[in-house]
């Protein structure tokens, strides 16, 4: 299926989990200071493992960057 991760279209196996998406962008599941929004809603870390990504979903995966 196709999903949009951080603005880029990507192909993921059907039934992929959010944790797979994280792996796809090179984020270790245990990295602290990371957050995920699934279709503009925050998805708590606890749900990363179980939650399967709906087809065509929009994921935002963010971490801390320098800012004033």
């Amino acid at each position: 299926m196709r999903v949009v991760i951080n603005g880029a279209e990507r192909e993921l196996p059907d039934g992929a989990r959010v944790s797979d998406a994280l792996r796809a962008v090179g984020v270790r599941a245990d990295e602290r200071g990371v957050a995920v929004a699934l279709d503009a809603e925050v998805l708590p870390r606890a749900g990363w493992e179980e939650t399967t990504i709906p087809d065509g979903a929009r994921l935002e995966i963010v971490r801390a960057t320098a800012g004033g």
């Binding site: 951080n6 603005g7 962008v25 090179g26 984020v27 990295e31 602290r32 200071g33 990371v34 957050a35 995920v36 929004a37 503009a40 925050v42 708590p44 870390r45 935002e60 995966i61 963010v62 971490r63 801390a64 960057t65 320098a66 800012g67 004033g68």
Partner: protein
Amino acid sequence: MEDRLTIAGEALRSRLILGSGGFRSLDQFERAIRASGAELVTVALRRVEQAPGGLYEAIERAGCRVLPNTAGCFTARDAVATARLAREAFQTSWVKLEVIGDRRTLLPDAVELLQAAETLVGEGFTVLPYTNEDAVLARRLEDAGCAAVMPLGSPIGSGLGIRNPTAIEMLRQAVGVPVILDAGIGTASDAALAMELGCDGVLSATAIARARDPERMARALRLAVEAGREALAAGRVPRVDHVARASTSDAGLPDLTPA
């Protein structure tokens, strides 16, 4: 009892808040944190591809706490969504709320800011809004439940210092929550002045990060904030215009006229 900046019941070990933007290297950033003595350090949230990583760890290594901001948001909706992401990412309910109204000046948008503040306070956030020097808006933000207000001294990154001390003093008198001077600080005397005007703290990003020697400027601002705070508490002498006030008495002046 100690004189410490206390926000939402938490006493911080420094009245200087450090912005993490603009440093040339992570190492330089870490040296600046230590020199600044700051406990709170602001960060932004960005997509992992554009956010190198290591920053959060560096801040924790330095024994500091992250204060996430909502930089880059132009609407209450985006700011609220960003704050929620930040709470999840850093497990903190504190947020430096920025809702910008103009790309060129990066001045806050009073209406969207107040709206976002109301929503976030309702969701249990500890909200520190970046606002203009408007005493009335500051009071409204306090009434909305903000834990502090962060008026600008001059535009973000301008280094123009405090362009309107009168307005900052009026704002200080208008609210009860802590006032953190945010944006515009260019050098030590600006930070000292902020404290003398009655501000409870100072946030500095550009002044430190983009100084020729950030570590040294961090130390300078730490000293300046302390100096200004002490000066306020010491009770300065009144200003007198057009006449001098001798610091030496003429009584007992010897007569040294040659015979």
